[in-house]
């Protein structure tokens, strides 16, 4: 790893690691988790300190903790951390002081004053896109989907993480979410001919094979080209987008969320006539890895029979 990227990743985790070292030193039990929002590169660290209810919190425990606290907890984050208590949301602001990009938290005072069981400290770090892409490379989906039986297209998706030493051991839970990816499946040209009315199909096939067009066939082709503008709804119509979205599913809803599906069209040139035809079915998905998963695979299924039905209905309206 180039040292520049290493130092970017290291910096992103440095403050969080300082917090972990500090809390370990206090002897207070705590859980720690992190969530990376892949889309905006925000890395959110969360610590839950088990203080115990004040009624059961022994003086001995508080004394031991305070004896270890040579200084207050300092968090050097650009955005001030969110500090709160659970189950009661008590006012801890007197023990939290922010100055510039540094916040200090007086854990000893918190122990003395709050009655809640858990102290929650949360703060965010902004990763650079470069650091994000090294920690969690953009997932791979295959350029060549497989057209399987029953007209279902199968698109494998793979997610794999890297540099686990930064996060796998230090955190109880590490979630990577909102990994957006767009992909497309070509609507096969041969299929379209099967979905348009018979006379339209006949004219197109005749035209493709012919060296020259008779005036009657040329007229028919002009009419087909004009009418084919109706296929633009495949890309623009909101209801069709919803129908297309229903045609896309996944085998791992835990890892893959289908955000939306839309169509695209293109112009096909037949003997100088531009005919609009459905071109691609474009899906947008958000991927997620939970609970310290280092890698995951999933499949996206596109039901082309459903898409055919959408195109057939549209063709009947169009021509």
């Amino acid at each position: 790893m180039p040292s520049e990227i290493f130092s970017q990743i290291f910096e992103s985790f440095k403050v969080a690691n300082v917090v972990i070292d500090y809390l370990k030193h206090t002897g207070i039990k705590f859980d720690r988790s992190a969530i990376l929002d892949h889309d905006n590169q925000l890395l959110r660290f969360r610590y839950g300190l088990q203080l115990g209810a004040k009624s059961t919190r022994t003086e001995e425990f508080a004394r031991k903790v305070k004896a270890k606290l040579a200084s207050k907890l300092e968090i050097a984050a650009a955005n001030p951390p969110m500090v709160t208590t659970l189950p009661n949301l008590e006012d801890v602001s007197p023990y939290v002081v922010t100055s510039g990009s540094s916040t200090t938290i007086d854990i000893g005072e918190v122990l003395d004053k709050v009655s809640s069981e858990i102290l929650v400290i949360e703060f965010v770090q902004q990763l650079t896109p470069l650091a994000r892409d090294h920690l969690f490379p953009i997932p791979h989906s295959f350029r060549n989907p497989i057209y399987g039986p029953n007209k279902v297209v199968e698109i494998p998706v793979e997610m794999i993480t890297d540099y686990g030493s930064f996060w796998h051991k230090p955190y109880d839970s590490f979630v990577i979410r909102n990994v957006k990816k767009e992909g497309g499946v070509h609507y096969l040209e041969q299929e379209i001919l099967q979905l348009v009315p018979e006379e339209v199909k006949k004219t197109i096939v005749e035209c493709q094979g012919a060296k020259t067009l008779s005036s009657q066939v040329a007229r028919q082709l002009t009419q087909i080209a004009a009418a084919s503008a109706g296929f633009r709804a495949f890309a623009n119509d909101l209801e069709i987008r919803e129908q297309l979205t229903r045609a896309v599913t996944t085998d791992k809803p835990k890892n893959v969320i289908v955000l939306g599906v839309r169509g695209s069209v293109r112009e096909m040139d037949i003997k100088g006539h531009k005919i609009v035809i459905p071109h691609e079915i474009i899906y947008t998905i958000a991927l997620e890895l939970e609970g310290k998963e280092l890698a995951a695979s999933a499949k996206i299924f596109m039901d082309i029979a459903q898409v055919d039905e959408i195109v057939r209905n549209l063709a009947n309206k169009t021509f």
Binding site: N144, Y147, D162, L188, E189
Partner: protein, 263 residues
């Protein structure tokens, strides 16, 4: 017997991409029980592979394995970033004639002895196509044939799984006698796939004599890897003067649609 048994790791998950085009990333990973003691992992493949990335290993592994094309990596267990996990990305760098299975092996080594091996197999898919002629390829053009409608029919047979893109016919004049002239007119087929059959080219023959013509197709996969079919050879003999024209038609023979639009 129990004493001879080599302790093996308990593999939780082994994964490799189900398929990939030539030069397309193949992802793979292995998860096993944390705490399993071994000295090294050996990652190897007997095929033409390029391994540009190992995941969750330390920088030292790259330093000790500088050849990423050799199909061999030695990974010291102390350089794994996460106990019980290793991943890699490989590319198959050749273009096979048809779909081809390739394997990667991960060996767990302890005290210079392999204690366990995991085989990860995937398929490199190609849009393999084969061409054959349904017409007589030894064409003698005589007086009476000049009045008949001639044509040459080629059939394209799909022998690979991957999608085909930018399918184009080529016709090369291999040999031509002095008094025979061949002109090839290829139709600008912007939409070669919309109907699976169509006239691709015309061969215009002027004069008399003989010629050998080779025909086939070039095409790409969706990653723009280039392919070429076999060729069929047409032997033309024309004994009469005048001009003849032979349209060359092609037909795709496939159970499922396999051709995508031009990009």
């Amino acid at each position: 017997l129990a004493q001879d048994a080599k302790p093996a790791p308990r593999i939780h998950e082994q994964y490799i991409s189900v398929h990939a085009l030539p030069n397309e990333p193949i992802n793979a990973w292995l998860k096993w029980d944390e705490g399993f003691q071994f000295d090294n992992l050996i990652l190897r493949s007997d095929n033409d592979v390029y391994i540009p990335r190992l995941t969750n290993v330390m920088e030292e592994v790259w330093a000790s394995n500088p050849d990423h094309y050799g199909g061999l990596f030695l990974i010291d267990s102390k350089y794994l970033e996460v106990d019980g996990f290793v991943g890699f990305q490989g590319h198959f760098t050749s273009i096979p004639d048809s779909d081809k299975k390739i394997s990667f092996y991960i060996d767990f080594v302890r005290n210079n002895e392999r204690v366990h091996q995991v085989e990860l197999t995937t398929t490199v898919i190609v849009p393999g196509m084969r061409v054959r002629s349904d017409s007589d390829l030894n064409l003698m053009l005589s007086e009476d044939m000049m009045t008949q409608e001639l044509s040459l029919d080629l059939t394209l047979e799909k022998i690979g799984t991957a999608l085909v893109k930018d399918l184009d016919m080529f016709i090369n004049i291999h040999k031509e006698s002095e008094n025979l002239r061949l002109d090839i007119y290829t139709e600008t087929q912007k939409e070669p796939a919309l109907s699976s059959a169509g006239v691709r080219s015309h061969i215009k023959i002027t004069g008399s004599g003989y010629a050998v013509v080779k025909m086939g197709f070039v095409y790409k996969d969706v990653l723009n890897n280039k392919y070429r079919t076999n060729t069929v050879e047409l032997i033309l003999t024309k004994r009469v003067l005048g001009t003849a024209e032979i349209p060359v038609r092609s037909r795709l023979e496939a159970d499922v649609p396999l051709i995508v639009a031009r990009a």
